[in-house]
Symmetry: C2
Subunit: 333 residues, 2 copies
Amino acid sequence: MSLDHSSAKPHERLAAHLEADMDAVDQLIRARMASRHAPRIPEVTAHLIDAGGKRIRPMLTLAAAKLCGYDGDSHIKLAATVEFIHTATLLHDDVVDESNQRRGRPTANLLWDNKSSVLVGDYLFARAFQLMVEPQNLEVLEILSNAAATIAEGEVLQMTAAMDITTTEDTYMQVIRGKTAALFQAATESGAVIAGRPDADRAALAQYGDALGVSFQIVDDLLDWGGASGEMGKNTGDDFRERKMTLPVIRAIAKADAAERAFWTRTIGRGDQNEGDLEAAFDLLSAHGTLEETRQEALRFAQSAKSALNILPNDPLRDMMQDLADYVVERIA
Amino acid sequence: MSLDHSSAKPHERLAAHLEADMDAVDQLIRARMASRHAPRIPEVTAHLIDAGGKRIRPMLTLAAAKLCGYDGDSHIKLAATVEFIHTATLLHDDVVDESNQRRGRPTANLLWDNKSSVLVGDYLFARAFQLMVEPQNLEVLEILSNAAATIAEGEVLQMTAAMDITTTEDTYMQVIRGKTAALFQAATESGAVIAGRPDADRAALAQYGDALGVSFQIVDDLLDWGGASGEMGKNTGDDFRERKMTLPVIRAIAKADAAERAFWTRTIGRGDQNEGDLEAAFDLLSAHGTLEETRQEALRFAQSAKSALNILPNDPLRDMMQDLADYVVERIA
């Protein structure tokens, strides 16, 4: 596969660079999502796996392992593990959020039912744990099982924090670490560990994964308000309607006067939203400058992800991983 | 604690014999179900944990480890692990079955919501995996992660096999192994492995756990028809109404003539059930002798569980575990 490296996006260059390994991950995923007994399992899983996400998490696992000079084949198993954990959480998220669409296609809970999504999600979690045991590396098992707990805790926290206007920035960070950063971090850190690298490299790759994931999620939350451009884009406001407490809102509430506080209590706390409220909310975020502040936070985390990799060997993979951090925030540049 | 050993039930005698360890398991469960960030988690978990099941799975883990002469403390962690896995599956089962009651109390999905049950179940699964990693024993990890996959696969299979009158005995066995026997087996087998026993002892304890679990579940399914007494008891027929394919029905369908087959197709296949159908179904099971056949199967598995332990040292724990196998089938004696 030949790509014009100057114009291809960083994740496309990574995918091209890691193509053989990515193919091996894909084959392993397909082999392990099979079930001798329950055909419903591969049906539901294939629906998501084929929907063609960017496979960013397994790619990060492979990239970290390779950057650390790993030449075994356990990184394939770890990459499939993180994709299974990710897919399982998507299945359960769609049940919890009562979603009907993901990646432009009807969700599994809509095509089959909530039961199938819950149980097939459980199956993929279990398959992930089987896979992660196979490399027989206890440190990797600790990293991945801790990540699974952080993810689950973050999901519960997100559920209970929604609609609560007293939610703090600390809680928000916990939620987004659970939602995104914990698995990014586990992916890159386990790549370093399987390669047997010293603690400093391991810490650097952990830091990269965490900061990249945090940046990624802050950008996502910012784009739900149309970014920091000063104008509300189309397709914005889902989080407001679902009464989610994201960073721009948390900061705006911290700066709110009594009337503004009453507005947030009504719209997010009680969910009593009327025509024009979304625009009024946007104006409050703009007035307090919290969209721009949020943008700056995302840029800081992206920069931190890049810097973390500086201690690692100069290598095309390192450049691509650093470019990926820039690319994550390009959407809000 | 002093119990009259001649009249106490085997699980009560086991609980008394293992009291100190069972207390340690209980403390560990309470410590690990906590969440620094999300108070909803211990709330939901405590609701189930406090409901006072018999804690049969952790007890089996402890009993197997002790019978194998184990004197470390990892068996406490493994016992808490299996109870967490069990509790997680109960939370998800209640969502899938849309249940309102468990152990005579309202279910978590009723008291909170389906979201909480799904996400707290995920959290307990993740906590189980963290706990099972701690003893740093790769064989145990393999046993427990395989059990988790068998459980999840069995749940999906049960969902797709319900309402399907072509379900075979093979499928039924897969379902009940997933539902019950896989975790019983993982509990006893991991007890033997953590104690470092030779393969023969490990196989014996695995066989005991499997056969005990299979027997337990067959008895449960038989009691849903009131047992094999020839009379339909009160509170029977839930499985028929939910169109579940259990052993007495599978065998009766295998012996059905055309008219009987039409009856099963209508009532279980299409779910078109009218007044008197439950009684008619019971009469078919009685006429074909499948309730008695099912009873004989349960007795055979209980006997197999007992025999498996014969190669292990003569010990009060061994006697109690064998008595437990008798007790499981006492309800249908």
